[in-house]
């Protein structure tokens, strides 16, 4: 995201006069519920599994989003990112006996999630990563650990209240994202931008009529600008967030599913939700049913 920072500064320099600084999303969120880190975790995994290797090495690299409030977000002052995806990552790391501060949180953007997994640049991807058949041909995806759907983020005074209203309107999202295609199919003019934050700015300054992507992401932005933005329309797609892992280590699937299932059963999944996405005021949903791990 070097470019984003570069962009922010260039725009700031060029239109500095008379511009109030963009609302910096310095996060005041707590670091989420505490996760019990299991000690001597390495013993609980069989020799030769990737989990054992990671537990013994004492560190894990997890690819996350850093520009999605509520899901994965890192403000300038944050040591580690915060969000629901991060909480899931902490749970998985804890089951390997790895403390959150020993996890390397690496930023992944939508484009590099598969390459990062394949090259071993990251061990896991937990980055609002929808499970799709095409992706499952390339990488492993365990889960889903959360289900959301595509919605619209609009200015509070907007009249849009059904997805049919978007015909002919300018709707932005991230270039190349599935959301952008789906809104195009609804008859809107798709406007691709580099990041969700760029897109939110376009909504705030009225250049586009709405922004669209998974409701979970939009809720985070609405919570940041409660007076200016709101999330509308019934979800018109189903996005099932999964944890990405490399196909080289198929044994990771069952471990990921079991760890998340345990967190769902003992209430820590719900606590993680309330501390992150739940802050925008939505009720904590029932955890979704997991897919079977294909061998």
């Amino acid at each position: 995201m070097r470019l984003t920072r570069f962009k922010a500064s260039t725009v700031a320099v060029l239109v500095a006069a008379g511009l109030s600084a963009c609302g910096n999303a310095g996060s005041d969120e707590s670091s989420g519920p505490d996760v019990a880190v299991s000690s001597n975790a390495a013993d609980s995994f069989e020799d030769g599994t990737r989990m054992k290797e990671l537990a013994e090495s004492g560190t894990i690299t997890i690819g996350v989003k850093k520009d999605q409030p509520g899901i994965g977000f890192q403000g300038a002052a944050d040591d580690i990112p915060v969000g629901f995806d991060i909480e899931i990552g902490k749970m998985l790391a804890a089951s390997l006996g790895i403390k959150p501060e020993d996890v390397e949180w690496k930023e992944t953007i939508s484009d590099n999630r598969e390459p990062f997994l394949e090259s071993g640049e990251v061990d896991l991807v937990i980055a609002s990563y929808s499970i799709t058949d095409e992706r499952r041909q390339v990488v492993g995806q365990a889960g889903p650990y959360y289900v959301t759907g595509q919605q619209l983020l609009v200015p509070t005074d907007s009249d849009i209240d059904s997805v049919d209203d978007v015909k002919g309107m300018d709707i932005c999202s991230v270039t190349g994202s599935t959301s952008l295609e789906q809104i195009e199919a609804k008859g809107a003019k798709p406007r691709g931008f580099e990041t969700y934050s760029d897109c939110v700015d376009q909504v705030l300054n009225g250049t586009v009529d709405a922004m669209t992507t998974d409701g979970a992401i939009l809720m985070g932005y609405a919570a940041e600008h409660p007076d200016d933005l709101k999330v509308v329309v019934k979800p018109f797609s189903e996005e099932r967030y999964g944890v990405g892992y490399s196909k080289k280590y198929p044994e990771m699937c069952q471990w990921i599913q079991d760890t998340i299932k345990a967190a769902e059963d003992d209430g820590s999944w719900a606590k993680a939700f309330e501390a992150t996405l739940g802050k925008s005021g939505v009720d904590t949903p029932e955890p979704p049913a997991m897919d079977d791990c294909q061998s």
């Binding site: 470019l3 060029l14 484009d111 390339v138 190349g176 599935t178 406007r191 931008f193 700015d201 250049t207």
Partner: protein
Amino acid sequence: MNLVFEHFDLYLRAFGWTVLLFLASAVASLVIGTILSAMRVGPVLILRWVAAVYVAVVRNTPLVLWFLLIAQGLPMVDITFRDVEKLHIDSYYFRACLALTLYTSTFVGEAIRSGINSVGLGQAEAARAIGLTFLGTMRNVVLPQAFRASVPPLASVMIALLKNTSVAYVFGVYEATTRMKYFSNITARDEGVFILFALGYVVLVELVSLAAGTLERRWKVARA
């Protein structure tokens, strides 16, 4: 890769936007570039200065910065150019063309200035001697010869412009690179998609080179 062939209309429409971005920006920057070059060689000191400063500032900054300023910076101060939609022009397309023109016209200006410098001083002196004004000298004597000499550097500028249109992909224009991202997102990982879109650009650039080559040959005969 098969996905691209199944949705070939999307592929063609995306390159259609690329061509539209290119054509409008090419025409506009040729016009503005010519004016800039005339200002730089002209007799009015203040115009020489203005043109020199404009070229120095704009040519020395990255294109993406001008896109950022026009597509994301100006809307923050309520300059969105949405009025052009009354003329049935897409405002995102308009902003992208504006950024591309702003940037490319400086290169065009310098390419034409190099052509002007190649026209012998005697030509301008003779034109003045028969009573032509500065504008008359430029229009009837200097620029026609300068354009001829500028064709090869102008072709390079135009080729760069054609490829620079891809910067618009994160600024709301659904051109070829945006569509490539769309296909590569769906296919998760497919080098074929990349190759097909790269080929599209190669074909378009080749068309520009061919056009430039034809002009060069035709005008060379006229000079001989």
